[in-house]
C-alpha cells in the first residue's frame, strides 16, 4: 500500500524555466512533509519541508505548496538549473513530536535541459 505517491517517474524541463514536481498522499494523518534531492551514489539531501498548518513554504528557488483537502503537495523550482538534475523524493510523517519515521514516495527523476 503506497501511502505517498509520485505519479511522474520522470520530468524534463528547460533551463531557466519552472520545474513542478508533484506528490499525492492517502493518509490524512500525515502532518509534516519533506522533499529530498538525490544524486546517484549519494544519500538524499534535505531540501525543504512544510507543516500541515501551512499551505506554502519558500526557501530561495524552492517553494513547497500543500493542499490538504486534495492530499497533494508540489515542489516548485524556479529558475531551474542544470545542477537540479536529480531524483526528487517527497516524504511524509505522522504526528509524534518528531522522531517519527518517514514514508517516501517513489521518486521523480528531473532532468534540466541546458
Amino acid at each position: 500500500d503506497q501511502q505517498v505517491k509520485q505519479n511522474s517517474p520522470s520530468l524534463s524541463v528547460q533551463e531557466g524555466r519552472i520545474s513542478i514536481l508533484n506528490c499525492d498522499y492517502t493518509n490524512s494523518m500525515f502532518d509534516y512533509f519533506l522533499w529530498y534531492k538525490k544524486y546517484p551514489a549519494e544519500g538524499p539531501t534535505f531540501l525543504i519541508s512544510i507543516s500541515s498548518i501551512k499551505d506554502k513554504n519558500e526557501d530561495g528557488r524552492f517553494t513547497v505548496f500543500l493542499n490538504k483537502s486534495a492530499k497533494h503537495l508540489s515542489l516548485h523550482i524556479v529558475p531551474s538549473q542544470p545542477g537540479d538534475s536529480a531524483v526528487y523524493f517527497c516524504a511524509a510523517k505522522l504526528p509524534n513530536f518528531g522522531n517519527e519515521k518517514l514514508t517516501f514516495g517513489t521518486g521523480t527523476r528531473l532532468t534540466i535541459i541546458p
Partner: protein, 114 residues
C-alpha cells in the same frame, strides 16, 4: 542540520557473508534510522535505533537478518547477515536533530552481493 558519516561507501560481498555498516553523527541524537533503497525503488525504513534499548524493526525486517547496535548517542551500526543477491541495495542511516522535525541522511552504502 547534522553531518553524518557512513562507511563503507560501497562494497561487493560474497553471498552467505555479513557486512557491518557504520554511521557516525557529529552531534548527539536520540534516534537513528536505517533505510534501504533497492534498485529502482523508493526508500524503505528497516528499523529505528534508540540508544540503550533494542531497535524497533518494521514489518518484513527481523533482528536476526539486520542486527543493529546503538552504543551511544552519536553512533550506530547495521549488519546485513547471511547475504544473498536480493540484499543488494543502498543502505542509508538517517537522524533527526534533537527537537527537530527534518531528517538528514548519510551518503549511503552501496552493497552488491555476488
Amino acid at each position: 542540520s547534522a553531518v553524518i558519516s557512513q562507511k563503507p561507501s560501497r562494497d561487493i560481498c560474497q553471498r552467505g557473508t555479513s557486512l557491518t555498516i557504520q554511521c557516525q553523527v557529529d552531534s548527539q541524537v536520540t534516534m537513528m534510522f536505517w533505510y534501504r533503497q533497492q534498485p529502482g525503488q523508493s526508500l524503505t525504513l528497516i528499523a529505528t535505533a534508540n540508544q540503550g534499548s533494542e531497535a524497533t524493526y518494521e514489518s518484513g525486517f527481523v533482528i536476526d537478518k539486520f542486527p543493529i547496535s546503538r552504543p551511544n548517542l552519536t553512533f550506530s551500526t547495521l549488519t546485513v547477515s547471511n547475504m544473498s543477491p536480493e540484499d543488494s541495495s543502498i543502505y542509508l542511516c538517517s537522524v533527526e536533530t534533537t527537537g527537530g522535525l527534518d531528517a538528514f541522511f548519510g551518503q549511503g552504502t552501496r552493497l552488491t552481493v555476488v
